[in-house]
Symmetry: C2
Subunit: 154 residues, 2 copies
Amino acid sequence: MLDFMNIAVEEARKGALLGHGGPFGACVVKDGKLISVAHNNVLKTNDPTLHAEMLAISEAARKLGRFDLSDCELYTSCEPCPMCLGAIYWARISKVYYAADRDDAAKAGFDDKKFYEDMGRGKCPEGVQMVQVDKKKALAAFQAWLEKPDRTVY
Amino acid sequence: MLDFMNIAVEEARKGALLGHGGPFGACVVKDGKLISVAHNNVLKTNDPTLHAEMLAISEAARKLGRFDLSDCELYTSCEPCPMCLGAIYWARISKVYYAADRDDAAKAGFDDKKFYEDMGRGKCPEGVQMVQVDKKKALAAFQAWLEKPDRTVY
């Protein structure tokens, strides 16, 4: 079997050396076959959402033509941040292998651990405010969704 | 001032009726001006990462040419899920206005609340396993990053 973690880590190294983003790489695997591989692209694109895991999941889902990746596994060079873990949950990925963890990421200057702590306390990081407004207005859009006879649940 | 929440909710309704995804819309605003607006595209693209907030943040960052959106606000028709909240943290967005919340989303059939609960307990949803392997291998990639003299911190 291919050493998928090695592929993820080498991709991390490659992306960082190219200056595309931080040293993070990931790949999606199905039935022992590589479906997608990606590295962090935050710096190259200026898009803060383009972590390695997000890109690998997006590409795998598009290739397989479905948003449910429950028959897939993800290999990532570092423990997924809350954003990427959320994507893993939505994609229903069944197994995640990670190498470095949030403590290692913190030592390398990344905020994953801090964000987990903030989120776990149900508190935003300093400088972020969350305000609820106009709840009733949004409920009408939900009602329209629930009344749509051909809606797909995901 | 424009009613930005109204823009987000109308976008939610539009996207759902078009069958592009669930009833979720969002927009990014800077200095009272609309920078980006998006609706959920999960069903249209089969990409589970394309929530409204992710798309609005991506587009705003690319338009402004920077990953730091700390001078921006986000309006979203529903409380962000953990994935989107992670993206908000990484983008350093300073203020988030949301209308419906995770309880309303649960009533409409979405798993946001469950994912928050799982993540808060530091536990994966049923059917998801997380396994740490090969930590040392990944640390070498981090070390290469820390030794890169021209690295950009984000």
